[in-house]
Symmetry: C2
Subunit: 240 residues, 2 copies
């Protein structure tokens, strides 16, 4: 039975971190909301009053009767099944910790364009968004990216890997974060190559993997857009 991934049908968003793992492993999966009547199927789960494990929000993964929600939790669950988690059990907690740091980073990316409320349009919180983005570019990008750079550097047995000696879902997620940041903040990310060489080597290595490369050029890969987490609003990027 294929894995069923439930996520909004028109954005990469948080679902993309799961899609990349499924694609790298050439796993049998259905991106449910992108099938005919798929959005209705997803909403049924979200409103479902009877499911004991009804999720709070997409993405969630259905594997048989089990519903697993939240990106890091889905990847924790899928990692060993897809050969994308460290084999040593203790390192799986390290991988999960890194993934949760990525989760926090992604939430901060979202808040650059929605600092006051998810119930307001971006246009109605532009001034606050500019303040938050300025802080994000000055302080938060260097803090998170510097941390991940040191993590890859320190992982001596790993080469281009964040944890362990083989590719893990954490590497795929770091690739996606960098892709997203470059899309959203082309000016602020210009010097990434010099500033974060280990991380950018990891990024480039992921982008060259055959299954990832095939996926990125397929119709299954949605384009970045201004409904997702990573949005390109030039006025929020680093000032010229």
């Amino acid at each position: 039975m294929p894995f069923e991934l439930y996520y909004w049908d028109e954005i990469q968003g948080r679902g993309e971190f799961v899609r990349l793992a499924l694609e790298e492993a050439a796993a049998d999966y259905v991106d449910v909301a992108r099938q005919p009547s798929g959005m209705a199927a997803m909403m049924k789960f979200l409103k479902g009053a009877t499911e004991a494990s009804a999720p709070f929000a997409p993405p969630f993964l259905k594997d048989g009767d089990l519903i697993v929600s939240h990106v890091a939790n889905i990847l924790l669950y899928l990692g060993p099944k897809l050969g994308l988690a460290p084999s040593q059990e203790s390192l799986r907690f390290v991988a999960n910790g890194l993934q949760l740091t990525i989760t926090d980073f992604v939430a901060e990316v979202h808040d650059t364009h929605h600092p006051l409320s998810t119930n307001l349009y971006y246009e109605d919180q532009k001034d606050a968004a500019k303040q938050r983005s300025t802080d994000f570019i000055e302080h938060r990008i260097p803090k998170f990216m510097g941390y991940f750079e040191r993590t890859v550097e320190r992982n001596g047995n790993g080469g281009d890997h964040a944890v362990g000696s083989q590719l893990s879902y954490v590497d795929l997620s770091l690739f996606q974060v960098i892709e997203g940041l470059r899309y959203a903040f082309p000016r602020a990310t210009k010097g990434f190559g010099e500033r974060y060489p280990a991380l950018m080597a990891l990024h480039d290595a992921v982008g060259k993997r055959p299954n990832i490369k095939a996926y990125l050029t397929s119709e299954r890969r949605l384009a970045f857009n201004e409904s997702g987490i990573f949005r390109h609003y030039p006025e929020l990027d680093q000032d010229v």
Copy 2:
């Protein structure tokens, strides 16, 4: 060897979710930063250039050589060891999913007083904080609390439990969230008893557990204060 918990020494903050689990289980642990020279010991880890699994931020737990970071990850690790996780493996992913929803809720609580930047004082972002808090009280509290209420209700085999048929770390965390919300927003949380009866029954049951009760009145339990996540700024509470 005792577990070593590393977290800021003067606030409940995110560390409190871990403390509650350790206390309920009467586990052998050291709250490192609250010991003499403890803050220095913690900062050494955060700055540590050599530790492969150096954490991004507190809290983190050291168990022998292993360092586990992020609340949900620490609880995932400790849960089975402390008898505070469901015994069925699939339910552990459900518990982790719920804990990650709590994590998101707690991050939103933090952002009610710091919507623009963690590098600015609250006083320098008061107007934005008022807007974000208003939205939080109107939309986000009902959304999260309603979700957790339905979760407890639906968990038929559980009585006062969010997942499974016995106490889990998720129940302890829900207790703490409710304690914190009541401290921060006494006016907005006034009707919690009528609005969220299942959740409040769970909260009250946790508060009556002997080890939790003893902990809450001990010197180990720090008081809520305006340096933590849950801050009582009357001007951010629901308008009279």
